[in-house]
Amino acid sequence: MEYNFIHSLIDNTILAIILITLLPLGFVVIYALIAILGELKIASFVQERLGPMRTGWKGTMQPVAEVVKLLQKEDITPDAADKPLFNLAPFLMFAGAFAGFAVIPFSPFFIPANIELGLFYLFAIGSLAVIGLVMGGWASNNKYSLLGAMRSVAQIISYEVPAAMAILTVAMMANSLNLNEISANQSGWFWNWYIFGGPGPIWKIFFIPFTIGIALIYLVSSLAETNRTPFDIPEGESEIVAGYHTEYSGMKFAMFFFAEYANMFIVASIISYLFFGGWNSPFGDFLNYWWMQPIWFILKSFFFVFVAIWLRWTLPRLRVDQLMYMSWKVLLPMSFLCFLVLGIYMMLI
């Protein structure tokens, strides 16, 4: 089976490799613009206001205007900053976020790199963001940045543990770490999704609470990993101004911003792959054509991006110690329990 339609179109040339790299990049750029607009418009909907209305039809060009504004801004590097680190940090962070797209199957016919350890790779490359954060926070030579970086390292590393447990559970159920295979396992109707226990006998309903639980654990951990409310402590505006990116302006700030949105999409796509059938149609063969599959996947992922935005405008922020408490004393034991129960289930079927 051919996993990459570009290879079958123009063979295995340099051009094909470049195209395969550029396609996700183009997707990320367009997605980021949509997500920014979504953030603005959903915020305004929640807050009973109109949001941006002047740029373009109903303000739809606002993200473009914001990107142009950021590009035009003066790029300030503080005198006391560690310049190489300071300049490298935002790009490293974006590189980490973008590298994750390498293994995300947009459809069974387009996977930039169909490696067997896809999930493992995603998880490993996701940790690159932490290095970017620490570099930015440390190199800024600002106490607020330092506090933000300190908090973010503690937070992201702690939340990787329950997230890893959740991923491991699904990997165990699917017998694979390849996102495409995990997705293919869940084909058919929506009750074959792993949030509903995956394909299995009817008595799997007794285990559905645990699969839903593990999905929620991953959702919460992914919010923390992408620094979204209620876990936006590293950039907690009211306390440490802007956290690790306090000193950044212009394009470099845009890169941080971009990386945050790209990371949001990656975790949203992981959720949709692990628990919600990935590129499968929820209704069996209904609209499950090859051209419809990327649309299903993008719709599902956008829904979880929407959930993150929705939560951001609804919830207050946790405190650092409460965050740690939640990770180590609530999520982790719960994920162990779910892992154990679902392991027993896998032995039974």
Partner: protein, 383 residues
């Protein structure tokens, strides 16, 4: 092997360097131009030193060179969120000095505008407190409701924030024909929308975790530092000038003084101070409804305004219950057109002074919450 050994750790060797962090005067949550010098041990606050004076405008010296009515706009600019309440004790003091008896209608109008402004102030207080906790939406919801109040006050006085509406012996403008209906409508609206904030913010689990048992202010400390208003009542002290020493016509209204009960944590924590403000909004609604019903429609609002405001020789301290606490003006008159000396007992200044006392040992994020729960306005702290 197998023997249990006691491991001694010299904790003094582990003691890390403390970081001095400068918070403000340009900071998102210092509620103005307050500067806090914070000493941090990791995330734990070990010392706080507030530095004030960035908004000092020499109010008291200015007032000595102004005629009595000209001082009122300056008073508006002290606590610019509750200007109507600010003007009242000053005007009341001069009226007492001059022995003016204001008409009934004026008294009722004063109660209505002051209580409306109290609601607006508490709405901002709750909103910015939510913002400190990271919740942005309650801010906009509360500002939406506050807009109705500002619209009424604007129609009355012409200003949305700085009203200059009180006059010695009366008010600047009479009420407009639909005033009573509009006030009752707004009260109804606020009664309907305030519980939304309860759901969205105050009873939210995360918000309770952030505020309960944080910044506990015991009643004795609050009294020693001269804290008043929701700060003092949040600590469980039943002290409200409207009830304990009723001025104007407050003895005619039926309302309850809300005190903190420590429902979510300890008495006197941030959650208590916040819920006292929330409940006072509803109490103010009660007062407004009663005042609108009792208010006489007939009568000249400028009846008792003297031709020339010239207080006789003497001195007076006049205080009133501001939304933030007790606001008092000590006015010394030497019989001339200008006051000889005015000293303001600013609520926010007294309330802020307790911050270093109650914020030590909490985390840095808590410090911001404690500061938010004090509800300061730097215009009043610095004057």
């Amino acid at each position: 092997m197998g023997e249990k050994r006691k491991i001694e750790i010299d904790y003094s060797q582990l003691d890390s360097e403390r970081m001095r962090l400068n918070v403000g005067p340009q900071h998102p949550s210092t509620h103005g131009v307050l500067r806090l010098e914070v000493e941090l041990d990791g995330e734990i606050v070990t010392d706080v030193v507030p530095h004030i004076g960035y908004l000092h405008r020499c109010f008291e010296k200015h007032a000595e060179n102004m005629e009595y009515p000209q001082v009122v706009p300056y008073i508006d600019r002290m606590d610019y969120i509750s200007s109507m309440n600010n003007e009242w004790p000053y005007i009341m003091g001069i009226e007492k000095l001059m022995g003016i008896k204001v008409p009934e209608k004026v008294e009722y109008l004063r109660v209505i505008v002051a209580e409306l402004n109290r609601i607006a102030n508490h709405q901002i207080a709750i909103a910015t407190f939510g913002l400190d906790a990271g919740a942005f939406t309650p801010l906009l919801w509360l500002f939406r409701d506050r807009e109705y109040i500002l619209a009424i006050l604007e129609k009355l006085s012409g200003g949305r924030l700085l009203y200059n509406y009180f006059r010695v012996g009366g008010m600047a403008n009479d009420i407009y024909p639909t005033f009573k209906e509009e006030v009752l409508d707004v009260v109804k609206q606020i009664r309907k929308t305030m519980p939304e904030i309860l759901d969205l913010l105050i009873n939210n689990k995360i918000f309770i975790d952030r505020t309960a048992n944080v910044g506990i202010l015991p009643a004795d400390v609050a009294i020693n530092y001269g804290c008043t208003g929701p700060m003092l009542r949040g600590s469980g002290v039943n002290y409200d000038l409207r009830r304990t020493e009723p001025y104007s016509i407050y003895d005619r209204f039926d309302f309850e003084v809300q005190v903190g009960k420590g429902e979510m944590g300890t008495v006197g924590d941030c959650w208590d101070r916040n819920i006292v403000r929330y409940r006072e909004v509803l109490e103010s609604c009660k007062i407004i409804e009663q005042a609108v019903q009792q208010m006489p429609t007939e009568g000249d609002i400028k009846e008792a305004i003297p031709k020339k405001v010239r207080a006789p020789k003497g001195e007076i301290y006049c205080k009133a219950e501001n939304p933030k606490g007790e606001l008092g003006f000590y006015i010394v008159s030497d019989g001339k057109n200008n006051p000889y000396r005015i000293k303001a007992r600013a609520t926010s200044f007294n309330n802020l002074s307790v911050l270093p006392e109650i914020s030590k040992g909490y985390m840095f994020a808590d410090l911001i919450m404690i500061l938010g729960s004090i509800d300061i306005v730097l215009g009043e702290v610095d004057r």
